[in-house]
Amino acid sequence: MAVVTRGFTGRGRREVDLPPGQYLTDDFPVLSAGPTPRISLDEWRFEVADGDGTRQAWSWPELLALPSEEITTDIHCVTKWSKRGTHWRGVSLDTLLSGVDSDVGYVMAHSYGGYTTNLPMADVRDGKAWVAYEYEGEPLAPEHGGPARLLVPHLYFWKSAKWVRGLRLMATDEPGFWESAGYHMYGDPWREQRYWGD
């Protein structure tokens, strides 16, 4: 069905396995919908909340006091770039969600600046997701989501919310910011779930 493009041979025959439609970059492009929020560490909070209000909250020193993990992972952006072997440090969401019932189905990540993104609870537990605050051994830069961002590397990177400020527990799935604008509710790069209906 695909038309062959005259004169196109492709430069990037890759030796590594990437999700469909992705290409490798050595850069770390930035994608955000608005200005980069500047968040004071004195005011920074991470909250886990349900419909009744806040259940648990951590200040910046409290987050840093939790056990952290080093994560080495590939990341895949829906705008087609992938980056291999990125290094992060952060707190596993298993730690931050340890007080949450296992029957909660979904979470909505909320960010400073107003961004949101939805995730199934199963995708942020069992060692699959972190609140990351270091990138390549340095404090996470504001344009890359610092002071802390979600890291959910098995999904397209828009799910790894920058400037994260908390998770809201949800019984049913609801679309977040990009998901309301035509992007996929789940976003598995290996199934190329970029847009609604993929």
């Binding site: 695909a2 038309v3 062959v4 493009t5 005259r6 004169g7 196109f8 041979t9 492709g10 430069r11 990037g12 025959r13 439609g21 290409y23 970059t25 850069d27 492009p29 930035v30 994608l31 955000s32 919908a33 608005g34 200005p35 980069t36 929020p37 705008t79 087609k80 770039w81 600046g113 107003g114 961004y115 344009e143 910011f177 990009w178 309301s180 604008a181 035509g182 970029r194 847009y195 609604w196 209906g197 993929d198």
Partner: protein
């Protein structure tokens, strides 16, 4: 960050696009006019995914902003759309689009995509557009849409380029600044200006942004598009000048080859 255009609720199919015309826009960028017979229409600011396929089935995808008006451009049928492509050295897709593609060639596109970095003529507030380099593409779609829709919403464009050789849409912008009532265009040259230019080369700063943009008290809708560093700088300047962060929409162009 709450206002979104109505997104598509249909799966986005790949459509065959045929190159209908090519316009060189600068030494590094060209417009491809694409004939897409079943094109569903788009909103100014949206982008498309482009997929090139090699004879052995290998494919490569990239995203490109649509530069054409949300309605048909004069002289072209409704089924044509335009993308602006800047050549990325050592890129994979842009060199084909910039150097090899010619009228009659075919590849695939799907879209339109994106419901946030968009402008529709129904919006009443004044508009500030700030472009760096090839970031002009989605903003040009807004300028063209404004004219085609007969909108009288005041537009101000501040467009930063390195030098006259890298100015994209230069002639059209000069013509529209003269003919499109309510559109002001300010070009900023960062390295080298044309002979006799009234402002020495330099980066866009707070003073120029205040002079050529809108005051925050007018609560304009701001659209900033360009390389990451440029967008970071401009968005920070706008916030510092009192603009509501929620009224500043950004699109950052990485090196996407």
């Amino acid at each position: 960050m709450t206002e979104l255009a109505t997104p598509t609720r249909r799966p986005l199919a790949w459509r065959v696009a045929t190159v209908a015309a090519v316009r060189e826009e600068s030494v590094v960028a060209r417009t491809l006019v694409l004939d897409v017979p079943d094109w569903p229409g788009h909103i100014a600011g949206q982008h498309v995914d482009v997929r090139l396929t090699a004879p052995d089935g290998y494919t490569a995808q990239r995203s490109y902003s649509l530069a054409s008006a949300a309605r048909a451009s004069a002289g072209y049928a409704v089924s044509t759309v335009e993308i602006l492509v800047q050549r990325i050295p050592r890129g994979e897709v842009s060199p084909w689009l910039c150097d090899i593609a010619m009228v009659g060639d075919q590849f695939e596109i799907r879209g339109p995509v994106g419901g946030y970095f968009v402008w529709e003529p129904s919006r009443p507030e004044p508009v500030l557009l700030v472009a760096g380099g090839s970031g002009i593409a989605p903003l040009m779609a807004m300028i063209r849409t404004r004219k085609e829709a007969g909108s009288r919403v005041p537009f101000r464009l501040i467009y930063s380029v390195r030098d006259p050789d890298t100015l994209i849409f230069g002639e059209e912008l000069a013509r529209r600044a003269r003919d499109d009532h309510g559109l002001d265009v300010t070009i900023v040259y960062t390295r080298q200006t044309p002979p006799g230019w009234r402002r020495p080369p330099g980066r866009l700063d707070a003073v120029l942004l205040a002079e050529a943009g809108w005051p925050a008290t007018l609560a304009p809708a701001c659209y900033v598009c360009g390389p990451t560093g440029f967008v970071e700088t401009v968005a920070d300047l706008l916030v510092a000048a009192g603009h509501d962060p929620a009224a500043i929409r950004t699109e950052r162009f990485g090196p996407t080859g």
